[in-house]
């Protein structure tokens, strides 16, 4: 199956007229498969927006190449099948319905189809009642919803979203989350860049974490969150003092141990007369994984400097 989005050994170096060149992406490779919601994470300055802008053809890679829906980055006709919402969305100041129709028309929609799909897109983001109001008078959250409406107006096969929920209230976030899940159920692909890790954890099938232009983690969300080296041992029958490092939780005692020390830890509990109830890998939150990865990247770059 042809990947929906593919980066192959892409590097991007910004060369300002004055000052040192900045490498935003370094030999970056990534493949997004059809029908998945892909989370693209990284701290500020990691190169996420650069990667998205390269994919959308807003800029050219310094080296390497990539494809969007099977065509090289920058192919204008391919973008008819893509919906894009930029970070800090900037829109023309005109009535919401007229604006969404304008963007739909740029993608080749016409006449009754254009009007119907624009109205449907505004309906999805729950702005039908504001269709005649000027977008310039909207709050940031409402403008972001109009931005989302213009991204989905052409019923895209691939939706590329750069921080789509940053300005949204909790209710609107739920609307967006449901929209993403609905699109996936229709076989569409979503490429989602976000700092809202809880949102990503809830909806994304796979995630990539990029730090300082390098891809640090890539995999299924569940695998990455279960991939902890820590194990949780739950036992009873002895007091926590009997096993150093353990603590009383509810009616039982818990001990966190590194995977490689699991066997001695269990032996210790048994020797003290305890009964082991369960041994499970500790599931990290995405936030914990994210922090772990960024610290790891910092350590690597500090090591490189020293």
């Amino acid at each position: 199956m042809t990947p929906v989005l593919q980066f192959e050994q892409i590097s991007k170096v910004y060369r300002p007229w004055m000052g040192r060149p900045v490498t935003a992406l370094r030999d970056f490779s990534l493949t997004v498969e059809p029908g998945e919601i892909f989370g693209f994470l990284g701290p500020n300055g990691a190169g996420k927006t650069t990667a998205i802008h390269l994919a959308m053809g807003f800029m050219r890679p310094s080296s390497g190449h990539g494809s969007l829906l099977g065509k090289p980055f920058g192919d204008a006709t391919t973008r008819r099948r893509v919906g894009f919402l930029a970070e800090n969305v900037a829109l023309y100041h005109r009535p919401a319905a007229s604006l969404v129709q304008f963007y739909g028309a740029l993608n080749g929609l016409r006449g009754a189809d254009l009007r119907r799909q624009a109205a449907a897109a505004l309906d999805v983001v729950q702005l039908s009642g504001e269709a005649k109001r000027n977008v310039g008078k909207f709050s940031r959250g409402m403008a972001q919803r109009v931005g989302l409406a213009q991204a989905i107006v052409n019923d895209p096969d691939l939706l590329v979203l750069d921080e789509p929920t940053s300005a949204l209230d909790p209710i609107a976030r739920v609307v967006v989350r449901e929209l993403l899940l609905k699109l996936r159920s229709q076989g569409k692909t979503v490429f989602l860049s976000s700092h809202l890790l809880s949102e990503v954890e809830l909806v994304c099938d796979r995630i990539a974490i990029v730090v300082k232009g390098n891809l640090m983690r890539l995999g299924r969300t569940t695998d990455l969150l279960h991939g902890s080296e820590q194990m949780r041992i739950v036992f009873r029958g002895i007091l926590p003092e009997a096993v150093p490092g353990s603590m009383s939780v509810g009616g039982h005692v818990e001990l966190l141990a590194q995977r490689k020390y699991l066997q001695p830890a269990v032996q210790q509990i048994w020797s003290a007369g305890g009964e082991v109830l369960s041994v499970n890998p500790v599931q990290r939150t995405l936030e914990e994984l994210f922090l772990e990865v960024t610290r790891e990247a910092d350590a690597v770059s500090d090591g490189g400097r020293n």
Binding site: Y14, A24, N44, G45, A46, G47, K48, T49, T50, H53, M56, G57, F58, M59, R60, A76, T77, T78, R79, R80, V82, F84, A86, E87, N88, V89, A90, L91, Y92, R94, F102, Y103, A105, L106, N107, G108, G147, Q150, A151, N154
Partner: protein, 236 residues
Amino acid sequence: MRGVLLIASNFAREQRWPILLLILGVLALALMGLTVDLQKHQEDALFLFKELSIYGIAFSVFFGGSAINTERRSRRILAVLAKSISRSQYVLGLLAGVALAAGLYCFTLGVTGTWLLGDIGFSRAHLWYLMVCLLSACLLSASVSVLYSTFLNPFLATIATALSLTLPAGTMRFAGAGWQNVLPVHTLMDVILQAMFVGNWKADWVLVGISLAQAALICGLAAWIFTSRDVAVAID
């Protein structure tokens, strides 16, 4: 083609207030013309008409030179170029937008000129020929400023445009009349500035054709350069 027209109409819509102001300025001056005896002030009226014509060229340079930069700085360009619009279509659309604005200005100036200057003896056919020259000069000036704005900021693009448009006029003095057809905005301006009430006039359609052909060529060059430019600066 539809994409080009959409971008052009959107540009004119975004610039509607300055365009309206320019048109109202022309109309206001025309109305003021009703309050004076124009027969007595023929030359003054013609001078004012010529001056307003030159403003048209200046504003075309400003519109053309700032169009891309304004869109990039506001980041509105991203949502447009994320659609199935090529860079060439985008540049062509902006230039068509400037042409639309310049066309409206020339039309207003032509109508008011017909009304005021025509009544005091200026050839109406001559006047509309001058408007065609003006529109051609506006288009050529705008295409040069759009070309520079693909890789320079609006300030530098305007300076570079001014230099490019005046350089052939200066060179012509030393290197001969052949330079009159190189970026012939100065030649077209000369046609407008030399217009008089008395004497015969002759339309030089070759000059208009050369001017439009160069505008098309420069627009193509601008599109080619813009295709290879990064339009987004990463903010993360």
